[in-house]
Symmetry: C2
Subunit: 482 residues, 2 copies
């Protein structure tokens, strides 16, 4: 018997009139004659034509949606619409039955909410097949981008001993019996007896450790899971998500922005090229979904157009201070349409402000820089106060249409004194971060980096609306199923 060929390769093959073996799952079986077979290698199904007159009726009955089958047959040019080849079956073997009475996935449209409940099966739908193929390509493109530029992929630790960055609520990691954790003489939990001999938690970012690598290897990046124990039940937040965090020695903020913009364009371009069919499918899906919305809420561009637009246009770069000026003078602010009116300099921007800048004012991705020092992390490089005495840091956030912040980064404060002073002001324990401060003691240099939330990127590229739909098994408050 000939070796199994995947459907993607088979549909691209020009060489017909040969015997092939295909394996996959039945999507539909119509007229007792046409099997639409899918093996996940592509969104397209292969049409398998069954010679029903010469096929056992018992076998025909078992060709139900979801059944796993193996087919040996002749690959021939197809006369049907939407396909160039099909397989005339010679032998069909049922590998695994699928009882249509019990199988939750039927050949009809299921809601995304329902499919989230059966995340173990949703890979078998067109939408989720496309999403996870696109996600795969984006992940590989990230690696390829950095490898082409000589970056070193660094696995920073997942279990850490401090939440010194203050990036958010952390999950505790312990091997104590939670019913009865050992107490020290003072009545407090005795973490000396815990697995690591101290209190530990799940990382919120690999940045600080990433900087350690950059201070020797020049350019590194992480790509790993990060965690937030925040009770956010939104379409934009997960308790467990993947981040990409490059750190580059000898980079300033402009180099940093250039790299981030190049990365986003590279991975989007790579995916447009590799997953054309999946993105066409997802574009159509989004267009249909938007038809349910009132006219003014629909996007002006299709998904494919939006992706193309990102590739072809420079991201708009401006400072926080410039953005505040634009927002203050904006129509929604003057007409009091913002929930949080822009009054003065210094407050953080809300999602409505970011969306106004990106979607209404500039109509393209925006990079905001030089945020107020008071609203940013301790490790960001401090600017000299401006003429008005405003204190800012060399931060940058990249804002994307429909997504908001997709990248957050900064040039890092490499001056030991400034860094220590800021840590003191913000109450960050220096003794816990002795190793981080060592990089400023021994051969410090200007450097910069950023974090890219991988699921937000996948959300943007797939045009999906809920972040729970772009990671295989989402983790969020009260949910750790599968």
């Amino acid at each position: 018997m000939s070796q199994r060929i995947k459907i993607k390769a088979l549909l691209e093959s020009k060489e017909t009139d040969r015997e092939v073996t295909v394996k996959g799952w039945v999507r539909t079986f119509r007229n007792n004659q046409f099997i639409a077979l899918n093996d996940g290698s592509t969104n397209s199904n292969l049409q398998v034509v069954v010679d029903f007159e010469n096929t056992d009726a018992a076998l025909l009955k078992r060709l139900t949606t979801g059944a796993a089958i193996s087919v040996v047959g002749q690959l021939v040019a197809s006369l049907g619409k939407g396909q160039t080849v099909e397989v005339k079956a010679k032998e069909i073997e049922i590998l695994g039955d699928c009882d249509p009475e019990k199988y939750p996935l039927q050949p009809k449209k299921h809601s995304l909410e329902f499919l989230r409940e059966i995340a173990h099966l949703r890979f078998r739908t067109n939408t989720f097949g496309a999403i996870f193929r696109v996600r795969n390509t984006l992940a590989f493109a990230v690696h390829q981008f950095f490898q082409e530029r000589g970056f070193i992929y660094l696995h920073t630790p997942i279990i850490t001993a401090s939440d010194a960055e203050g990036a958010g609520e952390t999950f505790h990691v312990t091997n104590f019996d939670l019913a009865n954790p050992p107490k020290a003489d003072n009545g407090e939990v005795d973490f000396k007896q815990d697995f690591f001999g101290r209190a530990t938690n799940l990382t919120v970012s690999g940045q600080l450790e990433g900087e350690l690598g950059a201070m020797a290897l020049s350019d590194i990046y992480t790509f790993g899971p990060t965690f937030r124990a925040e009770n956010s039940n939104t379409t934009r937040h997960l308790a467990e998500f993947w981040m990409i965090e490059p750190e580059m020695a000898f980079y300033d903020l402009v180099d940093n922005m250039d790299l981030a913009e190049a990365l986003l364009k590279y991975v989007i371009g790579y995916t447009l090229d590799k997953n054309k069919e999946d993105l066409e499918f997802l574009t159509q899906r989004l267009t249909e979904e938007e038809k349910q919305k009132p006219q003014q809420e629909r996007s002006e561009m299709t998904l494919l157009e939006k992706l193309q637009f990102c590739l072809e246009n420079d991201f708009q770069r401006l400072t926080y201070t410039e953005a505040i000026d634009i927002l203050k003078e904006s129509t929604p602010n003057k007409k009091k349409k913002f929930q949080y009116p822009i009054e003065g300099w210094g407050t953080d921007l809300q999602s409505e402000h970011e969306r106004y800048l990106v979607e209404k004012h500039f109509k393209k991705p925006v990079i905001l820089t030089d945020y107020p020092k008071a609203i940013k992390a301790f490790y960001m490089r401090q600017n000299e106060p401006d003429a008005k005495g405003h204190e800012t840091v060399r931060a940058m956030d990249i804002l994307f249409p429909g997504i908001g912040e997709i990248v957050g980064g900064s040039q890092r404060e490499e001056r030991l004194e400034k860094l220590e002073q800021r840590m003191d002001e913000m109450g960050i324990p220096k003794e816990e971060l002795w190793w981080y401060l060592d990089t400023r003691r021994f051969g410090a240099c200007p450097h910069a980096g950023f974090g890219l939330g991988f699921e937000r990127l996948v959300l943007f590229v797939t045009g999906m609306g809920n972040i729970r739909d772009v990671i295989p098994f989402p983790r969020f408050p009260k949910n750790a199923e599968f």
Copy 2:
């Protein structure tokens, strides 16, 4: 000023007599004249020649080991040994000083134990620079291998609700106040109030979720962190380590072995090609280290020879039963040299037995298959009992010289009844794994997969002796520093 060029590119460049800018860290500065400059892009240092007669004495003093500098100068052909080009400095800027009185890394040989204490700085040594560049290449090669074959990279969850696989002790994940976890009426910890509404822990394997992906996408792989809360203080175990776990629909055990062998050969070959210089350095390091050992404990092959050998030879495949026969008849067994003598069929093999097979008997990597059912996991496909009534499963372990088990895998039990029966026998709660069992209810098919411990692979390829030296920041009992 010309743009910075990385040292790797510069040393490979043929185009001399031009002005260049280089940035990096001083490794040594000798005779007030020769800076050995390293930027982590390669193991080799760039020689920067200082015109000391025309350079400020105060600046010369600051050219200490570890200092970060920027140099503008002329790239010229070098007359010195071991380098083809060097840079005649025109301008040197100190970016970050490094006080030689305080800097822990001096230009001398430090022990690996000492460097483990300062893991935040060890990237700056030749040995660890080479290790982490090799690790990077291996990681990328893994992705490339699977991408070339149409596999989908799947991010399986890190936080999970069950340790149903029974692969080992797990870490608890919680956002309870550990001093005072809420109790239910029955006095037990009330996990309903925990973040996820149930008890959760860190994953020990992504396999079960990986199978869910394979049952729709055909071929998937994971590459992520996994965890064991085991009190193992050995040179082979970590509490946090990275695993690669492919799962393939329509694969049997032979396909599985073929894939695993191809993967190992591919990534080793890729790294031999990409990191020649690093591997030459590590080979020399190992040879020197082995000179400290008695003759009979030294390897017969150098590191490079060992890697080449793995590429060029088929791995030896045999069943557990055949291995037992060989071991029973072996000289060390007959001479009672094994700590655990081989008496009969059915017991697990110890490291000494595996090493005998790999290093003495076959003298090459070995794949053992068809282990006793009693010592393997519930999800492995059950063989028919053999003539002697021995019950085995379609497992396979790949054993490597010096490392032992580097891959463990199996064909999976796709027959629902057999699987459920085995779960019952082993006390594995079926209701917790309802989603896993669903794949056997709906369109099941023969499939297989394996797990490759990434750090063990890095250990083998770098020739290092302690797994704590091949991951940036190792996690082990009583240690979560950095």
